[in-house]
Amino acid sequence: MAAPMAISPTRMELIKLRKRISLAQRGHDLLTEKMDALVIEFFEILKRVRRARADALTQLATAHRALSICLALVGTIETRQASIEARREIQLEASTRHVMGIETPALRIEGAERRVLERGYGIHFTSSALDDAAREFEKALGLLVELAELEESMRAIARELEKTKRRANALEYIIIPRLKATIKFIMMRLDEMERENFSRLKRIKAMLGAGA
């Protein structure tokens, strides 16, 4: 059970505690509201993640299949050689976005898919299997960029949700019960003091009455 805090049982402390408890209550209400909003946001993004993930993974599997065919038809060394020639600086636009005070990444890729002639390897000595593999991987890359943004946003929301939950629980199960217990302790102590005083007065009055 929540133990009362170690403070002196005075009326002043009681007023202070009442203020604190109403503040804690308000904080708790706000946190609960925030949690509700986060949960809605979370499920919204979860739906999108599921869809994006299915798309991206299917495309990635297709890409790997195309690459296997390419490796078989063109040869491992030739494919690797072409892959080194195909490298370029990819333009990935990355920034951060704020969703309800949570920092989430925003990613955008420019021109993931290229035309055959833009890929950089010579088309004269290479097979179309190589072009297929490259195209499928370019598509997969585009989808994976989208998925990465969504997954990371979801992770950020989940983290925030956990944090909010922990705070709300701390208020609800620890801080507020402790404040309540302390208030009760002070009130009982004050009542007790009043009773002591009352009987003391009675006694004095009786003594004065006997002396007169």
Partner: protein, 112 residues
């Protein structure tokens, strides 16, 4: 500002993404090498997205988790399956959902 994409994985994954034009790649051979490369990708500050295969993540184990906890919002790290479609039995993301939502359910029961 424009960022780079980096890929860490087995030879085939790396070849595939190279074909798609990714320049910053690393073929996973030994744990130490991959870890130092991974650290470089995370610290450089110009990598916006890092793709890494599930199998490599498993090989790196705790060191990877530690690095993930200490990194900022960028780079975004995305785990991808390799050509065998291998993904771990316990999905890290769904584990997260269970933690975030599951505990909420118990709280509802406790609150009533």
């Amino acid at each position: 500002m424009s960022y780079k994409i980096a890929v860490i994985g087995d030879a085939d994954t790396v070849t595939g993404f190279s074909l798609a034009g990714v320049r910053h790649v690393h073929v996973h051979v030994s744990k130490e090498e991959t870890l130092s490369k991974l650290r470089r990708f995370l610290m450089e500050g110009d990598v916006g997205l890092l793709l890494i295969t599930h199998r490599v993540i498993e090989d790196l184990g705790e060191d990877f988790k530690l690095l993930m906890r200490t990194k900022g919002v960028l780079p975004v790290v995305l785990a991808i399956p390799d050509k065998t479609g291998y993904a771990p039995a316990v999905d890290e993301l769904y584990e997260l959902i269970k933690r975030a939502v599951g505990a909420r359910v118990t709280e509802k029961i406790g609150g009533d």
